[in-house]
Amino acid sequence: MGWMYYGLIYLFFILNERLYALANYKTQLPMTLSHAFFAIIRRDLVLALRRRAEIANPLLFFVLVITLFPLGIGAQPHLLQAIASGIIWVSALLAAMLSLDSLFRSDFDDGCLEQILLSPHPASILVLGKIIAHWLVTGLPLLIVAPLLAVFLGMPNHAIGVLLLTLLIGTPVLSLIGAIGVALTVGLRRGGMILSLLVLPLYVPVLIFASNAVDMASSGLPIHAQINILISILIMSLVLAPWPTAAALKMSIN
């Protein structure tokens, strides 16, 4: 079923582009949505490379929090093993929260956000590009270090694959839902507190289903239901989150 939805999104892209080409046949000039979309992603990736602290910060936080747990709990490997999935997912959630503010902050401060919203292309698609770039920079690195940390906490081998799968599906949701919250609070000077209050409750379903899936996998139980629900949450937020984000950004720059 999931593939059908992806197909639809892809079709939507192609169609949009054709419509744009049609609408602008008078000008005879190239103006493609996908060009703008990928330019935004490329720009944000280059920016992240030039400000490496932005990538390192959430990742370091993720690693530090997880390594502190065994020290706090003491020599109880079974307890640690039992709560490993919870520790990793809560840390991922907090790391995502920590990285959220950087999503629109610098663009808001230097006026690039105004330029993005003034573009003739639909703002929601450009915003989606920014969110994807943000996930590549802050979410994907968590996936890369997570197996190591899972071994460190004594998670059984067969559960590590499931952990990775839930992170792969779940962290983009964190970026997508978080983007709505950041867009609403980017205009406020100290929006950090409100942002956590806005966004954390919406993160809870992801946390519940993802850590539950990993727990079930550790006990050797089937996890189809949880994974399907996570995928549906991802698809829903992928389709529905960019619109309110773009609308909220328009409000914020006012």
């Binding site: 000008t27 103006m31 703008a36 328009k250 006012n254």
Partner: protein, 209 residues
Amino acid sequence: MTTHLLQGMALSCIRDDRVLFSDLNFRLQSGQILLLEGKNGSGKTSLLRILCGFREPDAGEVCWSNEAINDGSYYADMAYVGHLDGIKKELTVLENLKVALALGVAGQYSISDALKKVHLQGYDDVLVQVLSAGQKRRLSLARLLITHNILWILDEPFTSLDKQGIALIESLMMEHCAGGGMIVLTSHHDITLHGVDVLRINLSILHSE
């Protein structure tokens, strides 16, 4: 080619219970410049932001070629340079302009021609953070040249430019108007534009009436 028309109809703007302007009307046609004057806080920037669609007017409507501006065709025809430069200081000059080009529609000038026009040739691979304030301003104005647009909305375009810079921008503005473009701007400097029809609205006077 269709002629374009920017119309403000009975616009008013209220900020913090203070009426900045009300019942403001204007018609701007191709080749004309609208210069907004007035004291600090008289609502010049607010009016520009209304024209950009960032802010809803408290009454009235802005129309572009007889259609309300909340419509795709308006944004393909306009460009805005505000107080904030809208350029990334961690990117090079060339990278900034490439992004600007991707976000808009390709215009009259190529990137290298536009850089020559604003006297920034040879700065392609320089990071924007090492440019001076005036060079940054010229770079943000180069954005106007590389994308297709008819209406320029400029908020204090002469800030931090030297005499040559001001003359340069004035000549670009005259060229733009001669090519059928139109400009709305605010400025504290006296602008000298030859052969261009300049409409003036003084928001301070409007308010005191």
